[in-house]
Structures are given as C-alpha cells and as structure tokens.
C-alpha cells in the first residue's frame, strides 16, 4: 500500500510540476498596450509584456491592445474587453498547433496566423453564445453580453490582387451553423 501511496503522491507532484511548466510557457506578447491593461493576477501589461498559457487579458475603458501570438496570430483587443487563451500548442518547425481562445466580453479583431494556415480547424474562438472557426482570414468578434455576439468577416475579398485565398468563417451556436465568405457580411449569435 505504501508503494501505491508513494506512486500516487509522485504522480500528483509530477502533474503539478507539469501544469506549472505549461503555465509558465510564453505563448506571445502584448505587441501594443495603450491604457489600462492587466492580466488575471491584476499585473499591469504594457507594450512588450509576455503572455503566458492560460492568461486572461483585461482591457479597460479608453484602452486597447494588440496581442501577438507565437504563430503570428494577431488579436487586436478593443476597450472594455476580456479574453483568455485557453489552449495554445505550436511547433514552429512544422507550424502545426492549436489555439482556443475565449472572448468573454468586448471587441476582438483577429488576423489568423500559421496555425490556421496549416489547419483551419485548429483555430477556435469561443464566445458565450457559440464559437467561430476561421480559414485564412481577418475577422472581428463583438461580444455585447453573454446573450449576444456579432461576428464580421473583414477580408481578404474575392477580388484581392494578391493571390490570397478569400476568407471563410464558420459560426455555430451549438445547434445551427452559418458560413460567411463575403467581406463585410456578419452573423449575430444569440443565446
């Protein structure tokens, strides 16, 4: 029995250590921090501050920020917004990984990076009323409350002269799914 106890304690200790290692992994930076921005520990974030796995970013009134993740996904966060990076796995060599982000409130504009380019399904943005999947694009999510979120596709458009693949958004409320492929078009997700 004592051997089992030792094994269980060791396992718990190892798991605790592993969680700490993962939690201390840097996944990006605050590339722009204007105004009052903080994390879940109430630490003030400024331009150049590091973002760690599981961090919640709070952008207060009259403030805004750009979060740059290691796969070059850029999240521009407007005032009175709160978001969490719940999952971030990225291998810079293969450019394969996964991002799960949770936008609790506010406005966040997202320019997708390498992870989404390699595998569009591996970028997931959750809002209180549903979730958004994105393929090679730029889009904005406005979460007004836990009852209503609006998602707008920004680009690139079909007539782009850069040879870019036009963006597509896949929005679901858990029951119904809507695709947006025309820039400027939006979908409102209610609870």
């Amino acid at each position: 029995m004592s051997k089992i106890k030792t094994l269980v304690v060791s396992l718990i200790f190892s798991l605790f250590f592993l969680i700490n290692v993962v939690a201390s992994e840097m996944i990006g930076i605050v590339a722009v921090g204007i105004g009052d921005i903080s994390n879940q520990k109430n630490e003030k974030l400024t331009t150049g501050s590091k973002i760690y796995f599981g961090d919640t970013i709070l952008v207060k009134a009259k403030s805004n920020a750009q979060i740059l993740l290691l796969d070059e996904t850029a999240l521009t966060v407007g005032e009175k917004s709160e978001l969490t990076i719940d999952e971030f796995i990225y291998d810079p060599k293969t450019k394969i990984g996964k991002i799960v982000s949770n936008i609790k409130i506010g406005t966040v504009r997202i320019i997708t990076g390498e992870i989404s380019k390699k595998n569009p399904d591996n970028l997931e943005v959750n809002v209180p009323t549903g979730s958004v999947g994105a393929r090679g694009t730029e889009f904005v999510v406005v979460t007004e409350s836990d009852q209503k979120s609006t998602v707008v596709l920004l680009g690139p458009g079909k007539k782009n002269t850069l040879g870019m693949v036009p963006g597509i958004l896949n929005i679901t409320d858990g029951l119904n799914t809507v695709n947006i492929s025309t820039p400027g078009f939006q979908s409102v997700v209610f609870k």
């Binding site: 590339a31 290691l70 070059e72 730029e138 680009g155 002269t161």
Partner: protein
C-alpha cells in the same frame, strides 16, 4: 555573346546578388523583442510583403498605426494593402476615420479622394462592348537585311560561292488594326482583331509586302489562373517571293502564385502554306510548307513593384513538306524588366539550337544543318507623354505609344549561308483611337 550583352547579364547578376540577402533580414523573433520599434517593424512589413506574407504585413502595419497614430505614411501604406486585399469594409472604416481626423493634411485628403474614386470606378460595371483603332508606323534600320553570311560565302552543291545580297537597308511599316471586344463577365472577355500593314524597303525590294492578319482571343480569370486561348490567321502578300498564308491556334496562360511569383505556360500550333502560281511554278515554293508546334513554360519573379525577372524554356518542332526544311529545337530565354518614369525597359536574351532533320543535298551532300542562335534585345516602350510631357497638350488621353528596340541575332550554323549576324534598330509609334468604351 557580344560584350554589350555580357555587361547586361553581369549587371542583372549584381542586382540579384544585392537583392537576395536583403530579403527577410528581420525575423519574427526580433519583432517579439521589439514590437514598438518603428524602423524594424516597418522593414519587417515591407519584407513580408515582398515574400507574399500579407497578413504579417497587415498586422504589423496595424500595430504601427496604433503606436504612431499621427504617422500618415503608415496609414497610407495600410490603405494600399487593404485595397489589394479587397477588404472593402475595413478600408471604408479606415478612410472615414482618416477623413474625420483634423490632423489629416490636405495632400493626404486628396490622395484618399483619389482612392475613393478608384474604388467607385472599380465597383461600376464595365461596359459590355469596346472597340479601338490603332494606327501604327515603324521604321527599322537593318545591318544585314538579306542575312548575308559572316564569311560572305555560301555552299551550293558542295562548292563555296559568294553570298549575293544586300546588307544595310531601312524598312518602313505603316498599318492599322481594329479591335472589337466584349466583356462577358467581370472576369472574362472576348476580342476580335483585324490588321493591315504595308511594308516597304528603302534600297531593295526583297522584303516588301502587304500583310493582312486577324485573330480572336478569349481571356478568363479562374482563381489564380489567367487563361488566354486564341486563334489567328495571316496572309503576307510578298512583292518578290511567293505569298503564303498561316493559320494557327494556341494559348498563353499564367498562374499567379502570389503577388511576386507567377508561372506562365503556353503552347501553339501553326500551319503555313505557300501559293504556287504560274510565276513561281519552277521553284517548288510549296516545299517550304510547314507546321510548327511549340510549347514553353516560364517563371516570373517581381522583386519590387518596378522590377521583374523572367525565364522561359521552350521547345519547337517544325515539320515541313521537305525534311531539310524541318527541325526541332529547345530554347532558353532570360529577361529583366524595369519600370522607369519614362517607360518600361526590357532586356532579353534567348539561346536556341535547331537541328534539321535531313541534309539539303542541293546545298551540301555531307553536312547536316544545325543552327545555334543567340538573340539579344533591348527595348524601351511606353506612352509618348512619359518621354515628352509637353505632348500631353495634344495627346490629352495619353494614347500615343512608342517603342524603341535594338535586336542582335547572332547565328552560328554548320552551313556557311546560315551563319550570320543581324543588328536591327527599330522605332515604332502607335496612336490609339477609342471607338467605343
């Protein structure tokens, strides 16, 4: 290869050598370490644009725009990227914000108005039909118009004889062509072209002709593909030699990998037949009747908005009624294009080897014909108002085009008469009249 062209090739090599190391000097790691540094980030944005990674350019410019909100150059750069990305909603928002900003200068406001006009023009449906007339004059100085051999001799039934012929002469071409087309959709069009020209020579008459030609082409954009199939017909009426008619079909397609890289590929087939008449019945002119198949693939790389390097490999097969007129041959072409304020400069070099199928025993019973041809070309073309701005007073719509061309064809052949050097300098003026648009 002439010394002049060796220098040009050397110059292109030096440009490439200098440009290559300058690409991707700033790494993403440096951006993570210096996200607010204007110089590093701006350099990163332009480098990423050159590499075709526009989303990186966009996010970097947005960051700089947030950090340096009064910097108009960043805003205009950002607008140019949004325009290219066809991000209409965001562009509109950006422009409105700039127009509402009291710090926006008059010059910038004028520039924005220009952009808005461009957007409005682009959103308006194109007219379905269009038609224009081109009137053309060209003068060419030929250093060796009859292709007199380098040694001044030729083979005739295995014997060496003197090559008779004219060397220096001028030719003049006056012509007109009419193009009528229809835009079938926003990404496809069809056009019909008919042309007539009269070609005269100053001293001799050997190269004088009237030429009638016509073509039908269809253009279509499918995703990243630009497709251009066509058919054509031409009928030169030669003053001294037999008339011929040529008809053909082909396509000339381009695949745009991204803004900087593209692959072009084309193929064509043509059939030429000479007219036998009572006047030339004895000379068996139809022995030269032929069919030509040709295919090529090329790669184009533009390393900035004004510089393009291109290369192309081709293969040609010519079948003729008499096999001594038939050949097969590969060719390789390399070119450099630079857009200058006064026109577009093109430098081109083509290496070609043609191996003939059969000996022409009338010429030589033991020597098979094989030609190595090097063609070098320097060309400057554009609108005449780019060269002489004063002309804008008369050419309000800038529809007079010019073209200067210097061509050097150095041919080395196993047969004496086919080894020759020709240098041609031509000047061409085209006036375009819009008939319907």
């Amino acid at each position: 290869m002439s010394l002049k062209f060796k220098k040009i090739i050397l110059l292109i090599s030096v440009i490439i050598f200098y440009i290559k190391p300058s690409i991707a000097e700033v790494t993403f790691q440096e951006i993570l370490e210096n996200p607010a540094d204007l110089e590093i980030n701006l350099k990163y944005a332009t480098e990423q644009e050159v590499l075709g990674r526009y989303k990186s350019t966009l996010s970097t410019l947005e960051r700089l725009n947030m950090l340096y909100p009064v910097n108009t150059d960043i805003k205009l750069y950002l607008i140019s990227i949004l325009l290219k990305m066809d991000s209409a909603a965001k562009l509109q928002l950006m422009i409105e914000t700039m127009l509402q900003d009291p710090n926006t200068s008059k010059e910038t406001r004028d520039y924005i108005q220009e952009i808005l006009k461009t957007i409005r023009d682009q959103s308006q449906p194109k007219p379905k039909w269009f038609a224009y007339l081109d009137v053309n004059y060209m003068q060419t100085d030929n250093s060796n118009i009859d292709g007199v051999s380098k040694t001044g001799t030729l083979y005739a039934r295995d014997n060496v004889s003197e090559f008779p012929g004219l060397k220096y002469d001028k030719t003049y071409s006056r012509g007109a062509s009419i193009t009528v087309g229809k835009n079938l959709s926003s990404s496809s069009a069809i056009s019909f072209n008919g042309a007539l020209s009269v070609n005269t020579q100053n001293k001799g008459e050997e190269n004088e002709s009237d030429l009638a030609s016509g073509s039908v082409s269809y253009s279509k954009i499918v995703g990243k593909h630009f497709l251009l199939p066509y058919i054509f017909y031409s009928r030169p009426n030669q003053r001294l030699s037999a008339d011929l008619k040529t008809k053909g079909v082909g396509f000339n397609n381009t695949y745009n990998i991204n803004q900087n890289n593209s692959v072009s590929y084309s193929s064509s087939y043509s059939k030429s037949s000479y007219n036998r008449s009572a006047a030339n019945a004895a000379s068996n002119v139809d022995d030269a009747n032929n069919e030509i198949y040709s295919a090529n693939i090329g790669y184009n790389y533009s390393f900035s908005d004004v510089n393009l390097i291109s290369s192309k490999i081709s293969y040609t097969e010519k079948n003729a009624k008499k096999n001594y007129n038939a050949y097969t041959g590969p060719s390789f072409n390399i070119g450099y294009t630079r857009i200058l304020p006064f026109g577009t400069l093109k430098l081109d070099k083509t290496f070609e080897t043609n191996t003939y199928e059969e000996k022409d025993t009338f010429v030589h019973s033991t020597i098979s014909r094989e030609d190595d041809i090097e063609t070098s070309q320097i060309q400057l073309s554009g609108r005449i108002t780019q060269l002489i701005p004063f002309i804008k007073k008369f050419d309000l719509e800038s529809k007079i085009f010019y073209n200067f061309k210097y061509t050097e064809i150095d041919s080395d052949s196993s047969l004496l008469q086919n080894s020759s050097m020709r240098k041609n300098t031509s000047f061409n003026l085209i006036k375009r009249f819009s008939l319907y648009e």
